[in-house]
């Protein structure tokens, strides 16, 4: 028997179909929206409510071994943010890394219906799937880490291109992943094998493999495209967080050429200034490049002032955050596949770099000419919890609200908040 539903009296917004605030019925049959359903279909009266497509979180960290380590690490976040059980729902705890049931319920309460876990080593795929089974209500999936895979490196080094593609395809299938993920390609080998060394250049040789990050990016981008994955290679570029890193980001995008690719939490990769020195905004340059290259998409990775958790397969970044904060630190090496770093973190509007990051994120949103290719994310929980999305949406939609933030300064440009002036951001 088919399940039918008629939602009546709601104010409907559907940007894909140019429906903007029209009061009309929505009919659903067997989980799909249809023209009409018979009168006996169940009715929901949505009077006074907005009916809109469910939100899709394209990049977040909600399930798997590193997420669970971050939960265990921070009991201090949980006591004041509990999620009680009901007769039909499970209890849990919140904080920046909620327990699984709470994660599902809270996304659903936000109006989000899909969330993609963005970094899972193949060895941890089974763990991630188990947690996703315990994450209710929402649709979910994950991206599998391939950019530091020693066995793939070996195939690439030996020029065994077809076997390389077959291996990537096998891993995607065996781990039940949605697409390939690259994180700081080459970095894990330097970190684990080179006494915590860093990779800083796209053309630097990766220890003992005769390859460069550039080779790895190109091979995986092409393979993801050739395999016709539903989402292209999802790339966390080298040098995250480092001043001057926009050059690395630009070089990565240039290396991708005309192929499809997604550059993730690009805010963290849009910094000017001397390499490793004082940060500045390069949002206009990055934004212009993305605007002009329809083969590329990105998500922002907005930072929101308050508690966050640095949680990444980029172990050198984890170490950097530990050095900066002195907070407790988790490092977790995964053989052949990845590194991992976790550090509790707080973004403060009084801090120069944090205020700048906040401004750069908003610039990237506001400078984008195609919002379908510059997706909303905080890289939850790295830039802030997914629970901050309503505030972030208001920041984007409401100029006055935005300008109430002391760090926003007082821009006179009608359209744009900051337009790339670093002095401007930090004038307050």
């Amino acid at each position: 028997m088919s399940v039918m539903l008629r939602i009546v009296n709601g104010r409907v917004y559907d940007p894909l179909n140019d429906i903007e605030g029209e009061v009309r019925d929505i009919c659903v049959k067997d989980g799909r929206i249809v023209e009409d359903v018979p009168p006996e279909a169940k009715r929901i009266d949505a009077k006074g409510m907005v009916v809109m497509p469910g939100g899709v979180d394209i990049h977040c960290h909600i399930a798997g071994s590193k997420v669970n380590l971050a939960r265990k690490l921070q009991p201090e976040e949980r006591r004041h943010d509990v999620h009680p059980r009901t007769l039909f729902t499970r209890s849990g705890t919140g904080g920046s890394v909620p327990s699984t049931f709470t994660t599902g319920y809270r996304y659903a309460m936000l109006g989000y219906t899909t969330a993609m876990e963005a970094a899972v080593p193949p060895l941890g795929a089974r763990h991630t799937l188990e947690e996703l089974h315990d994450t209710p209500v929402i649709d979910k999936g994950f991206f599998v880490l391939m950019g530091n895979n020693a066995l793939l490196y070996r195939l690439l080094q030996e020029g065994r291109k077809e076997e390389f593609r077959q291996a990537v395809a096998w891993w995607i299938n065996a781990s039940r992943a949605y697409t390939t993920k690259l994180v700081n390609p080459g970095g894990a080998e330097a970190w684990k094998g080179g006494r915590n060394a860093y990779i800083t250049d796209l053309n630097e040789e990766i220890d003992s493999f005769g390859l460069t990050p550039n080779h790895v990016v190109q091979a995986l981008v092409e393979t993801a495209e050739m395999l016709n994955l539903p989402h292209p290679a999802h790339i966390h570029c080298n040098n995250l967080g480092v001043a001057g890193n926009y050059k690395t980001t630009m070089e990565t995008m240039q290396a991708i050429g005309g192929h499809r690719a997604h550059i993730t939490h690009i805010q963290f990769h849009s910094y000017g200034g001397p390499f490793g020195g004082k940060h500045a905004s390069k949002a206009p340059e990055i934004s212009e490049y993305i605007n002009n290259h329809p083969n590329l998409s990105a998500d922002v990775g907005q930072v929101m002032f308050g508690k966050a958790t640095g949680m990444t397969a980029d172990a050198q970044l984890g170490w950097m955050l530990y050095q900066v904060t002195g907070n407790k630190w988790v490092n977790a090496d995964v053989e052949h596949e990845s590194g991992c770093g976790i550090v509790p973190f707080v973004y403060e509007d009084k801090k120069y770099v944090h205020a700048l990051q906040w401004g750069i994120g908003l610039e990237l949103f506001l400078l984008s000419k195609d919002p379908w290719r510059m997706v909303l994310s905080t890289d939850h929980p790295n830039g802030g919890s997914f629970l901050s999305y309503p505030r972030l949406i208001r920041l984007l939609m409401d100029r006055e609200f935005r300008m109430e933030y002391p760090v926003a300064g007082s821009g006179d440009d009608g359209e744009l908040l900051l337009l790339g002036s670093i002095d401007f951001v930090c004038a307050a």
Partner: protein
């Protein structure tokens, strides 16, 4: 021996936290027993040989034979009526069963705790304080050139730890196996693990913390007074040599056992060791790893953490998870006489808890799930006979390094799995709770 033989390759041994998944089992299907377990250590061989199908009742209620269904009914009634039920054990069953057990605890507002609270609980507490630099065991096989064991005796407790992961195997960057590694053992006595070590350091009992703290100081270039030897039994020269080796290795690892976590200092000891490993990353790459005991105790930590946010010692009595070791650890609350019912899964607390805790268990209705008759099943109101995980039932377990590993069962058991029984109890508990709520309206 019959002709009806089956070979199971890549089977998984769940006896200890090594969770070796390279077993080749020969199964006599007429006799329902494993006759040969290639690649297993002495402990694994015993595990596989001794888990046959025994002629036992499906369940006992107050010592009388009963069906599984009857026992499920009584268990559900006991758990829903109790004011302060406890759910305990979980380290020798699958994650699938653990998920059901946590659900039951949540639904009835129970206290939930695992055997972690009596083994590496202090390491879990230390982790919350200082974090941990760690690695999967394959990484250690591939890269570690300095391997230190502290307060453990793997030769007897985890016999394949040396050969499969950390001492003799040839890895990607350790092509000569043991020749590429320096092995150090630190313990209060010379155990059968000592001959494997290049350096054995004997610490006076109850002075691990002082030795670790002195090493932290030496690593950071601080002066340590030679009187450390009188206090700890370890000379300053020995400590300086060890600190030097730690700073100059390429990839070092500190494995630690219950000889560290369950001696004087407890979580301070674990915390000192984890902090030492963290400090060493200023100079080289260094990791630490608790050597976990039971086959899926690491899975229990993971399941409880992802469902509640806390690894053990969780209480649901207020309708949401609270964490407080000392208050919500099972030994402590039984000794205080707090619990009025208990659900014990795949564990035998009546064999190893303090006397006062066992005395309290005798006063309250206990429900137990176990493949074997145990001390706990003998004092239980309801005792289920279950299939053995890994031997009879499939599922997932986590190795001591958090790597999930699938089980490949050898032969079928007539008895239900923990997961099946717990799911039935959960469903019945839900019916009873809904009915209770309905009556209240």
């Amino acid at each position: 021996m019959s002709e009806n033989v089956r070979i199971v390759e890549n089977a998984t041994c769940t006896f200890c936290g090594c969770v070796c998944d390279d077993m080749i089992l020969t199964v006599d299907l007429d006799e329902n027993r494993i006759t040969k377990s290639k690649n297993a250590c002495v402990l694994g061989k015993a595990w596989f040989a001794e888990h046959t199908v025994e002629e036992r009742p499906y369940a006992l209620i107050d010592g009388q034979e009963a069906t599984t269904a009857e026992a499920v009914e009584v268990a559900a009634q006991v758990l829903t009526r109790a004011q302060f039920p406890v759910v305990y054990g979980l380290s020798d069953t699958t994650c699938e069963a653990q998920r059901q057990a946590v659900a039951i605890a949540d639904m009835v507002g129970a206290n939930l705790d695992t055997t972690t609270s009596v083994c590496h609980g202090p390491s879990g507490i230390a982790f919350q304080g200082v974090g941990e630099s760690t690695a999967t065991l394959g990484e250690i096989k591939n890269r570690a050139d300095l391997v230190i064991y502290w307060g453990g005796n793997p030769a007897e407790s985890h016999p394949r730890h040396f050969t499969r992961y950390s001492v003799t195997p040839k890895g990607m960057y350790t092509p000569n196996g043991k020749k590429d590694r320096t092995v150090v053992l630190v313990d209060v006595r010379r155990t059968p693990s000592a001959p494997v070590a290049d350096i054995f350091i004997q610490v006076k009992p109850k002075s691990d913390f002082e030795v670790l703290w002195a090493l932290r100081a030496l690593v950071k270039g601080r002066k340590v007074d030679p009187s450390i030897e009188a206090r700890t039994g370890v000379s300053l020269e020995t400590l300086e040599d060890l600190a030097d080796r730690m700073k100059n290795c390429r990839f070092g690892v500190l494995f630690f056992g219950m000889g560290l976590t369950m001696t004087r200092g407890r979580h301070f000891n674990s915390g000192a060791l984890l902090a030492l490993a963290t400090d060493l990353n200023e100079y080289t790459h260094f990791v630490a790893k608790p050597v976990r005991g039971h086959g899926n105790v690491t899975g229990a930590d993971n399941v409880v953490s992802w469902q509640t946010g806390f690894p053990f010692a969780v209480n649901f009595s207020r309708g949401y998870p609270r964490f407080n070791p000392g208050e919500f650890t099972t030994v402590d609350l039984l000794v205080r006489g707090d619990a009025d019912a208990a659900l014990i899964i795949a564990s035998d607390p009546a064999a190893n808890f303090p006397k006062a805790a066992i005395e309290h268990m005798r006063q309250i209705p206990v429900i137990v799930l176990d493949p074997k008759a145990t001390h706990t099943s003998q004092l239980a109101k309801v005792a289920f006979t279950t299939a053995t995980y890994g031997i009879n039932t499939p599922g997932t377990v986590y190795r001591m390094d958090d790597v999930p590993i699938p089980l490949r069962p050898a032969f079928e058991s007539p008895y239900p799995s923990d997961e099946e029984i717990l799911t039935a109890i959960r469903n019945r508990v839900q019916e009873l709770l809904v009915a209770k709520a309905g009556n209240g309206v």
